[in-house]
């Protein structure tokens, strides 16, 4: 599915990722944890092709495609989805209009039939219900006036609509209360599929109580310094990161 080899990347000429390698098989959930500034969010942005994130070495392939040969929108169309830590507002553009444009362009690229407006609306309402989001949010501007929790649920709803093959969740749990966390986790679990993989970037072990990862990696100073099973997350919660970093 996703294969990252010796990835190095700069942000504003500062070296952030310093030789990161990661292998994710179809259907797997990998959690990436690590202290602030270790490069967790950078990884998501580099893989999804955000401007200003410069790849200086290494490779990343998604289902055989070299990601760095593709523009950001092409990576999205190939099935890479990034759920944002801080989803931005686009005033005046309705969520429905935005999602329809997104789903249309992705489906067209993937050679799937276009959805007519009626079936799209039905699908969108269904997905809203799945994440406990009132369907009237579809009529509001993209993230406009949404609470923190509503924004995150909106991201998961988009993920469900787009049916990506790789989902990267960038600290989706930050700022969520326990109920919202449960809803988000349920959404992710409902999306689990033998052909879909997840990277869950998080600070806290808490989310991993609800979404059980196949692997946990610790990112520190731009490299993965330790990998393990789900029990590693619990250990980190108890001991913090310093015991690994010192080791």
């Amino acid at each position: 599915m996703l294969s990252i080899d010796n990835l190095q990347a700069n942000v504003e000429d500062k070296n952030i990722l310093k030789g990161l390698s990661l292998e994710i098989k179809p259907g797997e959930i990998h959690a990436i944890m690590g202290p602030n500034g270790s490069g967790k969010s950078t990884l998501g942005y580099v893989l999804s092709g955000r401007e200003g994130y410069e790849v200086t070495g290494g490779t990343a392939t998604l289902n055989g495609d070299n990601l760095f040969d593709l523009e950001a929108d092409e990576r999205a169309k190939k099935g890479l989805f990034l759920a944002f830590q801080y989803p931005v507002e686009i005033p005046g553009v309705s969520n429905m209009e935005f999602l329809k444009a997104s789903v249309d362009t992705v489906r067209e690229y993937q050679g799937k039939d276009a959805l007519d407006t009626v079936s799209f609306m039905k699908l969108a309402r269904e997905k809203c219900n799945a994440v406990n989001l009132d369907p009237h949010f579809l009529k509001r501007g993209v993230n406009e006036g949404f609470s923190g929790g509503e924004k995150k649920r909106n991201e998961i709803m988009q993920m469900m609509l787009l049916e990506p093959s790789l989902c990267i969740l960038d600290e989706t749990d930050s700022g969520l209360d326990i109920d919202a966390l449960q809803v988000v986790a349920d959404g992710v679990n409902a999306c689990r599929d033998p052909n879909r993989s997840f990277i869950i970037v998080t600070h806290y072990q808490r989310l991993l109580d609800y979404i059980v990862p196949d692997k946990v990696h610790v990112l520190s100073d731009g490299k993965i310094i330790k990998s393990g099973g789900k029990e590693l997350a619990r250990e980190l919660e108890k001991k913090g990161y310093s015991w690994i970093e010192k080791a």
Binding site: S48, G49, R50, E51, G52, E71, A72, D73, A76, K77, F81, L82, F84, P87, V88, E89, I90, P91, G92, V93, E97, F98, A101, S102, T105, V106, Y109, G141, V142, Q158, L162
Partner: protein
């Protein structure tokens, strides 16, 4: 901001072609003789010639205004020709079949078919090419409802009592330099009269085209909505790409009698000049309406063209309970400059006005909103709401807001809100990450920003306006 965006805002002007027609164009410069010539061409009555000449005398001692946030070399009126008309129009064609096919082709190319069976259903069009009106569609159908829609030069002969009563009644002779100039040299424009209690059965529209080089266009539009009537009117404008700046100095007057309603929409797409700021139309326009009791005037404008835009569609709320509205989208890019806004003059009791202005600046352009809200001492219960939003694309453009508020009534309520925002990298990346290409993303973000204004446009034109913004912002679309 990314270079990608810069590329998208540097696009070609699609209406920039020249029509090869044999035209009669008078020598550049302004003089009493030129005014007499224009008046004679239109076979005008003596009172109108005198009306023009008086304005000319007044204009001669007026100064070009310099208070606007605009930077341009002084206009040399000795290099402007004040009258140009296709020779084929010499003997006025009686029907469209007699109009020079070259002219018809021009409008087809611009997407404005003139044959009635082809035009947008329910829209009557008057076509002004340089200094003359070449065709007006659906005249007979409108006449059945008693609606008069014709070139103003024709109205002077057919409806002299209306023209004499209302021409210049809203914009006085010495109102401003450009309006006085227009009064002296105006060539053609549209005239509309909606009789008492009539709801105009279709949208009316005028399409202005400047074709000839070194020519100014000085049209004059007069719309009279009699008591209890209703009309929706739209104007559109384009011009060829030329290296010289060309002057467009129009005057529009709206007379809205008791209980009447006028909705006036503009989609202005004059040639904006090239990416280095060479050429383009200087658009100096005076638009004003007067509201009598319980009447309503609503101005909606989408301004994407012109090197310079200087216009302030205004409403004098004279009658009690009258309503004035101004909805504006002004987009500037490259080196375009716009200083635009409105004046809401509250004279009557319980008068209300709403101003929604959306300025979008890209490239090295400058975009200013200038608006006056005046509450007179007898405007008891008057109310205004103003919202000015600016959107910046890139970091070399500028946006300015100049609100003027004069309240002479203690009860008047005036609200003003202003925001400035940027098309952010975050918004753009969110779109890209969802598979939406840059072009589409920018146009979506900009259209979202303009939504409140677009919803005021008649439906067919809202779509057009959205497309126009898209074309103005992007490379390949359209």
């Amino acid at each position: 901001m990314s270079e990608v965006i810069d590329d998208y805002v540097k696009t070609e002007y699609e209406a920039g072609f020249v029509t090869e027609v044999d035209s009669e164009t008078i020598a550049p410069g302004i003089s009493e003789d030129v005014i007499r010539f224009i008046s004679a061409k239109k076979n005008e009555p003596k009172w109108l010639l005198e009306w023009r000449l008086e304005a000319y005398e007044a204009w001669k001692i007026m100064e070009e205004p310099d208070w606007a946030h605009l930077n341009y070399p002084k206009i040399d009126l000795n290099e402007v020709s004040f009258y140009s008309a296709p020779k084929s129009m010499e003997n006025a064609p009686k029907s469209l079949d007699e109009v020079d096919p070259e002219l018809i082709a021009t409008y087809n190319k611009l997407g404005i078919p003139l044959h009635e069976q082809e035009v947008l259903a329910g829209v009557a069009v008057d076509i002004v090419f340089d200094s003359v009106s070449i065709a007006t569609t659906f005249k007979e159908k409108l006449a059945e409802a008693g609606v008069v829609f014709c070139p103003i030069s024709e109205a002077v002969h057919e409806h002299p009592e209306l023209v004499k009563k209302y021409l210049g009644s809203v914009v006085p002779q010495k109102d401003n330099y450009f309006a006085a100039l227009n009064r002296a040299v105006f060539s053609d424009g549209s005239f509309v009269y909606i009789p008492k209690g009539v709801r105009c059965p279709m949208e009316l529209s005028t399409y202005f085209r400047i074709n000839e080089a070194n020519t100014g266009q000085f049209e004059r539009t007069l719309i009279i909505a009699d008591e209890g009537s209703h009309v929706s009117y739209l104007e559109g404008c384009t011009a060829p790409m030329r290296d010289e700046n060309q002057l467009h100095a129009a005057v529009v007057e709206l007379v809205c009698l008791d209980d009447a309603e006028i909705k006036y929409s503009t989609v202005q797409n004059w040639y904006p000049g090239d990416e280095n700021g060479i050429g383009g139309i200087y658009n100096f326009v005076t638009k004003r309406g007067i509201c009598h009791k319980n009447s309503k005037i609503s101005w909606t404008q989408v301004e994407t063209g012109s090197a310079i835009t200087w216009k302030y569609p205004s409403v004098i709320l004279r009658g009690d309970n009258s309503i004035g509205e101004f909805y504006s989208v002004a987009l500037t890019r490259n080196y375009q400059q716009a200083d635009t806004g409105t004046k809401m003059i509250h004279l009557g009791k319980n008068t209300k006005s709403t101003i929604i202005s959306k300025g979008i600046s890209a490239g090295k352009s400058s975009n200013a909103y200038r608006g006056l809200v005046r509450m007179s001492p007898r405007a008891d219960g008057a109310r205004n709401f103003t919202q000015c939003d600016s959107l910046l694309i890139g970091d070399q453009c500028s946006a300015h807001t100049f609100p003027y508020i004069e309240s002479k009534h203690p009860n008047a309520i005036i609200e003003h809100e202003a925001t400035t925002s940027k098309v952010s990298d975050d918004q753009l990346f969110l779109c890209l990450q969802r598979g939406i290409e840059t072009e589409k993303a920018i146009s979506m973000i900009v259209n979202g920003f303009c939504k409140e204004v677009f919803k005021e446009l008649p439906m067919e034109f809202a779509v057009e306006a959205g497309k126009l913004l898209e074309v103005s912002l992007e490379g390949s679309v359209g």
